[in-house]
């Protein structure tokens, strides 16, 4: 892997901008050239995927910290720079984004309506999400985050589907909810920036520099509250979660995949990197509240899943439930739990994306997502059933798939801190098993139904999401150290760097 550690080459920029370049290229492709359009989208995401896999492998864990750094001063008077870099925390999420981005292109392969616009927006979306993970600058982080909101809205209202709620309602709810959350986020970030300037006399947006600023405890509490509202909305913390099931239900497959798979994780990522490491005292102050609400997430959403009839609502609420684990991991504020939280974000991302890809595929062919309409599909579409099973089993935390090590680590980390909350939260594994198996059973198993005989199984490009995401689920499930080691490098080095354990105290 020596060739890739060449320090001069801007790998991250290439990874980040290739989809964007693809999107720009698409503008000049005539809209009739459907095949070319798809090919460009696929190639540009594939390039990013391959490079991010290489980076994932080439990341030097013995050194740790931010690697593959790039710095260009961007806005001088604000102290903003286009600075990229990955560490153990962002590395898995970068990989995740590209995995899902690439799969999402293929999951949309059969889209026939306004193909050109769709892929342009999709590529912008992928770029935006990726940007938040590779940037080291707060301003750029926010910029990328908000960039994605509008494409999502447009994609939902044009290519979405109307079921329980109209797609217009779903799209608007998603957008406004997240934007208002981001208003608090923005306020918190500006306050952070301004306060750091007043304390140090340097205008900087560099997250790592901000980590070393001695903010007062009072400010940290307010700052974390503001950031927390934004990030927790994004990660769909109870009671700010209701955008999520409706949004996913309304959105087209690719958007659901990216949204549930990675976009949501920006919330957790931000909470960790910015909330926790920049404002540790604030995090300590609010952590118990987050833990309580996280338990609410896990159990409440899991219980709701039991009575859902729409496949996407099941997975939507399920993702709310799983994010509860991430939140409780973050709230426990120790290396183990945070390692687990990040791993869980990765694992859940892959799993949710796979789920949505499969549901999307099924919906595309059957035009329904109503669980009672199905039954015995494993007779007609066994490959699709395999996808459903993989995603479902990962969802219920089956060992051997990526989510088990993650959940287990969270539990270990959180258990020492919030015993009662964790015990309640872990009960989620029972409910998850119930609703997942109920859903899988009712959709896939049971007597063959004549009406679904016409369904075609996965074939050609439709295989790609299952193969890519399924491989990842299994690989990281059997060899969890592949995922855990980089994460651990990132988290421990940040703990050491910020002296977090001394601020937080306890928890170890």
């Amino acid at each position: 892997m020596d060739f890739i550690t060449n320090p001069g080459f801007p790998y991250l920029s290439v990874i980040l901008l290739t989809p964007l370049v693809g999107a720009l290229a698409l503008i000049f492709v005539p809209r009739e050239e459907v095949w070319t359009i798809k090919a460009i989208a696929a190639v540009s995401t594939l390039v990013s995927l391959i490079l991010s896999v290489l980076i994932f492998l080439a990341y030097d864990q013995t050194i740790g910290g931010m690697q593959f750094k790039e710095d260009i001063l961007w806005i001088k008077d604000l102290g903003v720079s286009y600075s990229l870099g990955v560490d153990g925390i962002s590395l898995p999420l970068l990989l995740l984004t590209n995995l899902i981005g690439f799969s999402a292109v293929y999951a949309s392969w059969n889209n026939k309506d306004r193909v050109k616009e769709f892929f342009i927006l999709l590529l912008i979306l992928i770029t935006g999400v990726m940007g938040t993970f590779v940037t080291r600058d707060l301003f750029i982080f926010l910029l990328f985050y908000e960039v994605v909101v509008i494409p999502i809205y447009i994609m939902v209202i044009i290519w979405g589907s109307t079921k329980r709620v109209t797609k217009e309602y779903a799209g608007m709810k998603l957008t406004i909810y997240l934007l208002i959350g981001s208003a608090f986020l923005l306020a918190g970030m500006i306050a952070l920036y301004v306060n750091a300037y007043q304390l140090t006399g340097v205008r900087t947006m560099d997250i790592e520099s901000l980590m070393l600023v001695p903010f007062t405890e009072h400010f940290q509490i307010i700052g974390f509250l503001l950031l927390g509202i934004g990030f927790c909305t994004l990660i769909s913390m109870w009671p700010f979660h209701s955008w999520s099931p409706d949004g996913y239900a309304g959105a087209p497959t690719a958007v659901s995949m990216i949204h549930a798979g990675v976009l949501k994780k920006i919330g957790g990522y931000g909470l960790i990197r910015i909330g926790l490491f920049v404002l540790p005292a604030g995090a300590k102050f609010w952590a118990p509240l987050i833990a309580v609400l996280a338990v609410g997430n896990v159990v409440y959403a899991a219980v709701i899943c039991l009575v859902q009839k729409d496949l996407k609502y099941v997975v939507g609420y399920s993702s709310v439930s799983h994010m509860g684990y991430v939140l409780i991991g973050i709230a426990a504020l120790n290396v183990i739990s945070i390692n687990g939280a990040i791993a869980q974000m990765f694992a859940h991302g892959v799993m949710a994306a796979l789920f949505f890809a499969m549901i999307g595929n099924l919906y595309e062919k059957s035009h329904t997502r109503n669980i009672p309409d199905f039954g015995g599909l494993a007779n007609q579409v066994p490959r699709l059933a395999v996808g459903f099973m993989l995603a479902g089993l990962a969802s219920l935390g089956l060992p051997g798939l990526a989510s088990f090590p993650a959940e287990f680590t969270i539990f270990v980390g959180a258990f020492g801190v919030y015993q009662v909350f964790t015990i309640i939260a872990i009960s989620g594994i029972i409910f998850t098993a119930v609703y997942i198996l109920r859903m899988l059973g009712n959709v896939l198993f049971g007597p063959r139904q004549q009406q679904w005989d016409k369904l075609t199984d996965l074939k050609g490009p439709e295989w790609v999401p299952l193969i890519v995401l399924g491989t990842v689920l299994v690989t990281f499930g059997i060899f969890p150290y592949l995922l855990m080691d980089p994460i651990n490098t990132g988290v421990t080095s940040l703990f050491a760097r910020t002296g977090l354990s001394t601020v937080i105290g306890g928890g170890f």
Binding site: W74, I75, K76, D77, L78, F139, L142, L143, F144, E146, V147, V149, I150, Y153, I154, I157, I158, E168, M172, T175, I176, L179, I180, S182, A183, F184, L186, A187, I190, A191, Y193, V194, Y197, Q198, I222, L226
Partner: protein, 471 residues
Amino acid sequence: MDFTLLVPEMFVAALACLLLILNLVAPRGERRGLVIFAVLGILAAIAVVAFNFDMFDGFLGRMYLVDAYASFFKILFLIAALLVCLTTMNYYKPLAGEGGEAYTIMLFATLGMMILVSAGELITLYVGLELMTISFYILTANLAGEDARSSEAGLKYLILGAISSAVMLYGFTLLYGVTGTTMIHEIAQFKEASPAFWLGVIFALSGFGFKIAAVPFHMWAPDIYEGAPTPVTIFLAVASKAAGFGVFVRFFLTAFPQHADHWIPVIAIMAAATMILGNLAAIPQQNIKRMLAYSSIAQAGYLLVGLVAASEAGVKSILFYAMIYVFATVGAFAVTIAFNNVSESDDIADYSGLARRSPLLAVTLLVCMLSMAGIPPLAGFAGKFYLFSAVIEQGFLWLAIIGLVMSMLSVYYYLSVVRVMYLGEVTDYSAIKLKGSMKLVLYVCMVLSIILGAYPGPLAELANIAARFMF
């Protein structure tokens, strides 16, 4: 008495007069040549102002200030005038006498604004203000037009504007009476605040508040913006408002800095009310011009936030935001002009399917509206970032939160338009033809809204230079 300092103003005055004469010579109904002439003239004026951008001098002592702050605004007015002139090429209705008078009056209004932002003294300020306002009365009423709504708007504007300026004038007289001077910087030396002084301040505040359409002095704006011919609406919303801010900021920061603790909270409340009301009232609107009118009220609220900061960073952010606001607003209104041209309608419902009829119009409207809403990477985001970071620096976190939440809320009504454009039922598939000048305006506004957001550095640097002169 260095008259060279007045070259830009004299140039614009001369241009206005020249246009008036040309209008007499040129064939009736001929608009194109006049516009080109005006545009070239304005470009030259911009060059003249820009050439002496970074200077500081006063004509007749500090009566008439020529500094980067004023120059920044002058460039802004001239750019606005330029863009508005270009949009009129596509405007189907006769504009003030089928020919050049409108441009002449527009240039006189521009002249008034230029005087306004340079004024270092109350009389000059008042004259500049009236020159601008009276020109706008005429433009709004569109005396040559047949549209009764324009006449109504003109009359309303005149009555309300006159009342407001009378109130403000009364405030000026009180200030003059209490301090014995009309020089703004000398008023600042008057430390003791009496009730009469405060009355003067408040009356002045009401006058400026009226010009920038800040709540609670905003009532005129929606009606007048809706009724006026759209190019005039643009000019009113962009340049007049910016001029109001230019003088407001200079006047308050130069004359009353020592009383800042008292008037800043009032302005903070005004800013909050403006942001809230503007955005909320825009939601139920069905007429796009009226919606944009409320939206521009909300924009004034954001700009006021910069004044609340009352710091160099605050002024800089106002300057920056005012400039990017020009492009966003002109772009959005220009789309309504182009659309109105073919459909004779300003109803949002009629925008249905615009994305298919003219992708350019739809994209421009989308970009400009989102820029106003402050969605990155568009210019409005950078602008809001400057504004709110300035005000948070002064401890007004609550104001920033209100502002940010409201700006995100505004996405709701902007996106409603987007939804109609992209998703609405299409009844008319005919493509919309645009004139070159209109396309130019649209491209300029859209591209600048993106570029200034993605790379705000240079403009911010200019604004910074300008803002430094205020302190």
